[in-house]
Subunit: 757 residues, 2 copies
């Protein structure tokens, strides 16, 4: 654990600069607007250890992969989010000396990421070597969520002492590379550069996989007071302007840089320059203050719908808002071609843009904190990629649709066979999200139309992927990897078998409610339906009578079973200390596996079953996936294990802020950021939707005085407040409704209060 | 199946040149002398599709590997046999035109690889475009097995028509690359080149894995009659001489090229040039005829010990000798730092030099066809690498010694985790070879000394690799891959469990017979021995009572079992037509798995058990490993299934000559070349050593009139002749002895004959 920033309910801030943790600082001060984003790099440049990263949503490259020995059915490429044009650069020289915090003398350093407003600011007082000159620099940066193509960067320099000649050199620089490139390739090639207005147009290099080449134009307009334009230069993939002037003591110079970024995802290459010019000019005309005010206002609206307040624990408060902020900066549903990448705009580790994490961990939260359209777009994304899911299954010689583990287009682009064609439970996460969306919103329209295409496609996959074991007289699934990736190529993983059967049943049920025309279009035959029903009725589930638990997979109980508590502290985390061989053969579980089914299918297990399985598996779980603790916290809460729930919650709430896994320098764990929210809302507050009704069973963690969150539910904005006195539900917007509170049905018209139980 | 060469008992020859199969021709006409070897490339060069390959035993490079996602315990590099200096080049120009069979007109083409003498010859009559000139070229090439560093290449040009100016340009060319290089790197760097005598010295490039850089010097002396030296040139990694002259009709010019190759494996770089000069001068002094005669004589001695005659089936005869020739060209035991590479000197597919194939398939044959020292050196090789086997196990966090799947040094250098730390049955192949050597030779000295180091090291590995399942009350081994690589990461593979227990037992037994000093040196504790005994006594073996068969692994019977005969022909071979996912989940078996144990431990299974397991597994076996058919043929023969045995034999005998697997263009299947010999000797003739006695149960395949082979057994050379009359055993050298013939003990002093049963 390492904490770089101060505790503050709304801000990530610090007054100390720690060069040894520069990359971590950069990750934690990343900003994004769903269209683009960047790490917290320094505008003036930095000669020490740093990871410069700017990323454009949906702009990627299929990097040639390498596997031990390629075999039929392996993916051809490993898709990468690629490092894009650096647009924040404003080089600074004072009397010819280049300002560089890695080398220079400075004081009063302050860095702040304001989660409430989405603004990143930084300041410091710089001192020349001879101490004759002192300048206070203030940097302000934001990416507009109103004008998504616009980045605004402002640099103020106030001379406190001396009369220096100051040069500011704003630039656009696409000479960037990916640290994780497989062949140290540059993924960009030059198209053109312009002097006035300064712009750079680049294109991703050719590839052999039929993936489009992306063309991107960055264009900047600079508004400068106190300095004169002294030069412009363009180079291969770069464009710069230089503003210079002698500045008197007490005077302040200001540079405001308006950068427009357009990509061929939205704008034809031929029109990009004109479009970018128009955008930048419009932004410059609005001016810094108006652009800022609009952005702050837009963020305020988001927080009104989504904020969670924790009274009496600012650490938890900060952690929770940091997670919501990270998610909203990554994705807010404006573009159904996009999804929630594992690192968002904060780093480039992990290929691809889309994992099953979205459906399993993000959807349940977005349903409650944003408009239904946001989640609907996430579902639509999968429907758009259905054809390619059929291609993935076909590559394995299987019928139906297999959604990818990692993808941009729907085509699998991860590179481990034990994951790509084995960790197929992901298919069920996608159908379960349809179930979740429908259950929460009451909107059946997706399920019975586009959703049904997805349901039938995945059902056809499951029906072909199972095999009938004459020996056992059951349908089985061999060669799978469950959510617990610390085992792979196992047989009859309970979770995969259970969710496959559930998906088939949900599909059959959905078919009943669909229009004949739709059913006809899908041409599901009676034979198919019979096969699906046969699989549902005769699916094999490993179960141990004696223990009364579902067995993770066929031979799990033969392992040398022991709790994590028997391990030496030095063994943990296993993935850093043990060989893969030892991990695979050990009984230790990376993340919820059997318990993932129990979380997904909450109604279908008795409390006693949940208790037995939780008590059996959780002690063997190392929670080395950031996705693990929240699911366990929610089940623990349901079981009334309040302390356990809070303990597990603590592992997700500040995962990145406190760098628990010692890997946040690579970027933030975006897709697990919903974990803390889920722990509080589905766990502590026990929120759940059943029988068309919102239900709550709240408790208050001892450490807290109160917590308060808002949820959007079927046209209403509901505030849930829990404190020592009890729980208070308030409908802030929308009509009154019945809810289930501690299993009792109550009507809320305005506000109701109830003591905790 | 494709057959390029004529049927001939001793020769691989053809009178037709088939450019479309150039690579296949090159593989099939490779030559080698255990020290170096090369594919059947053309001396004058060839501008069409070709794979030029020259290889030096033990000279390799650790190529950077790439895996999907590196994890602890994965190998760092993928060791490659690297393409070395091309020493056969003799460029030819006639009146300024470069002779090139890819473009020119020629007739009377003839190519012959004489397996009896080890000589490769080629001739053709070349015609100029204007038809005014005709020249007959004759090429003779051999690698001396007497002077191992020497290659001799002779080119004769007889002018049949015209009076052309002929230039011959012998050269040394190290501007070569590996087609399988992971990063298209050149593995060689320049050291120096000399004009007279023409030589090139090169060094393998640096690597980051602490592997030595090899320095190699090639030096040539040319003896030319009828042409004058007209020039010499050296370039980066190259050296050439040119001999030119006008030649009258009827005249013949002759160039004899003596090339000495020395490497830093034997000679310090500083001394290489002097050493190479001395070697080449000595060879040149001997002259072509003497060098040739010595080489032919040495091959004759090898054949006297090892030849197998098949009367009435020249195809089988040729196939069998081709296999012996390929093996002897690759390895004849002179250097215990070397082993039998999977492609020998015939190609560069597959990394590494040493596989478990050597112990499992080569050792049993070398024991009978060569002096005991040859096999002993193969055992010594593993002892030399024992320390690194401990390193391999340590990398997995395990005790003891884990021999590598693929290696040069003993360090694992393959790149698939499912093989490297899972296909551990290889450890037992190595201990079983000690058992085989001891049983066959009666020489206990290796087993109780160096061999015991290996036995104890592997025993310590097995004892740590198993785990005790409280649930089952048995020792188990999870996460293994058996010989059947069409499944991996399985639990309780019968073969692995069985051979592990056998190895432990053999080690305990050996410890009893060893000197106290040796035992003390190994410091095997009582606790260790008790643990080993406990594992032997309580090892879990999957067995099905109903079927009466050992189960390949825990869940094999749950598969959708079906025989290969149920497949559509278009599905085969599976590895070219099915996805890896489908193959892994299918019941189809690549090569003997349960049956491999039955082959290894012939005495420990009843005939009924063998029959039940053979009848259960063989029908599901696709034999897509070249190692598969021979083991099945031997067991079929033991079961009296003569037709089945012959059918399986046919799949190994001419695997390369008839290009059965359509991959011989990449090189020959060296390590499976013993398969045909094993099928005849251990299969058809039923040769086996038990109770210190040679035993035979021969039968004669219907298609044959007779077969005859020689074996070396405890100081004797025994000829075994089987024909329609019966079997005749003759002791050609050495003392008389008792043998078991059809279960009857008989004494052979000179010759005995017996009817077949």
């Amino acid at each position: 654990m390492k904490r770089l920033f101060d505790i503050d309910p709304w801000k990530v801030k610090t007054s100390t600069f720690q060069p040894e943790d520069k990359r971590l600082q950069e990750s934690l001060t990343s900003i994004g607007n769903g269209y683009m984003g960047m790490r917290g790099n320094f505008e003036e440049g930095y000669s020490g250890d740093t990871h410069e990263g700017t990323y454009l949503a949906g702009v990627w490259y299929p990097d040639k992969t390498r596997v031990g020995w390629w075999k039929n059915g392996y993916p051809d490429y490993f898709g990468k989010v690629i490092n894009a044009m650096n647009i924040i650069q404003v080089g600074i020289t004072v009397d010819g000396h280049q300002v560089d915090l890695a080398k220079d003398t400075f004081r009063d350093f302050y860095l702040e990421s304001d989660m409430k407003t989405g603004v990143l600011t930084r300041r410091f007082v710089w001192t020349s070597e001879d101490k004759a000159t002192e300048i206070q620099f203030v940097f302000t940066r934001f990416l507009s969520i109103v004008d998504k193509e616009m980045a605004v960067i402002q640099v103020k320099a106030e001379v406190l002492k001396g009369q220096p000649e100051i040069s500011l050199k704003p630039g656009l620089d696409n000479q960037v590379h990916n640290e994780d490139a497989n062949y140290e390739e540059m993924f960009w090639e030059q198209v053109s550069e312009n002097v006035a207005p300064a712009s750079v147009t680049v294109r991703t290099i050719k590839n052999n996989f039929g993936i489009e080449q992306f063309t991107v134009t960055g264009l900047m307009l600079n508004d400068v007071t106190g300095l004169e334009l002294s030069g412009s230069e363009v180079a291969n993939l770069q464009a710069f302007e230089t503003y210079t002037g002698r500045v008197s003591e007490g005077d302040t110079v200001v540079l405001t840089k308006y950068v427009a970024m357009v990509t061929s995802r939205d704008v034809e290459p031929a029109e990009q320059e004109a479009k970018a010019t128009a955008l930048a000019e419009a932004a410059k005309a609005k001016g810094f203050e108006k652009m800022l005010a609009e952005n702050v206002g837009a963020w305020e609206v988001r927080w009104q719908k989504a904020d969670v307040k924790i009274v009496g624990d600012d650490e938890a408060q900060q952690g929770l808002r940091f997670n919501l902020y990270g998610l909203f900066s990554t994705y807010y549903g404006e573009d159904d071609r996009l999804n929630v990448g594992p690192k968002g705009f904060t780093g480039e580790k992990y290929g691809g843009a889309t994992y099953w994490d979205t459906e399993a961990f993000i959807v349940p939260m977005y349903l409650a904190v944003a408009d239904p359209e946001v989640t609907r777009n996430l579902l639509q994304y999968r429907h758009n990629q259905l054809d390619n899911a059929y291609v993935n299954a076909g590559k394995q010689g299987l019928a139906g649709a297999l959604y990818p583990m990692v993808t941009f287009t729907g085509i699998e682009c991860h590179n481990e066979w034990e994951i790509t064609f084995m960790e197929i439970h992901r298919n069920a996460a996608i159908t379960h999200a349809i179930y979740n969306y429908t259950k929460y919103t009451g909107d059946e329209s997706y399920r019975v139309n586009d959703g049904l295409d997805v349901l039938v496609g995945t059902a056809r996959f499951w029906a072909d992927r199972v095999h009938y074991s004459k020996h056992a007289g059951k349908y089985m699934m061999h060669g799978v990897t469950g959510p617990n990736e610390y085992e792979n190529n196992v047989n009859n993983n309970f979770h995969t078998n259970r969710m496959a059967a559930w998906s088939l049943a949900y599909t059959l049920e959905t078919l009943k409610g669909a229009d004949d025309s739709k059913v006809k279009e899908l041409a599901v035959t009676e034979e198919e339906k019979e096969k699906w029903q046969a699989v549902i009725d005769n699916m094999y589930y490993p179960y141990d009578e004696e223990l009364g638990v579902y067995v993770q997979h066929d031979t799990f109980l033969d392992k040398d079973l022991m709790p994590v508590s028997d391990l030496d502290a030095s063994d943990l985390p296993l993935n850093q200390n043990w060989s893969w061989d030892k991990i695979l053969r050990s009984p230790f579980i990376k993340q919820a596996d059997v318990l993932q089914s129990i979380y997904y299918l909450r109604d279908q297990f008795t409390l006693e079953e949940k208790e037995r399985n939780f008590d059996f598996y959780e002690p063997m779980t190392v929670h080395e996936s950031s996705l693990s603790p929240s699911i366990h916290a929610i089940i623990a809460a349901e079981l009334g294990r309040e302390e356990k729930a809070v303990e597990l919650y603590a592992r997700t709430a500040r995962l990145d802020l406190d760098n628990y896994n010692n890997d946040t320098e690579d970027g933030l764990h975006i897709t697990s950021m919903s974990g803390a929210w889920l722990s509080i809302v589905e766990g502590f507050a026990g929120m759940y939707v059943t029988d068309e009704m919102l239900t709550f069973k709240p408790f208050l963690p001892k450490q807290w005085e109160a917590y308060d969150f808002k949820i959007n539910y079927r046209g209403r904005l509901v505030d849930v407040h829990v404190d020592k006195e009890g729980v208070r539900l308030t409908i802030e917007e929308g009509e009154s409704m019945e809810v289930k509170l501690f299993d009792e049905i109550v009507m809320i018209s305005d506000t109701i209060t109830k003591a905790l139980q």
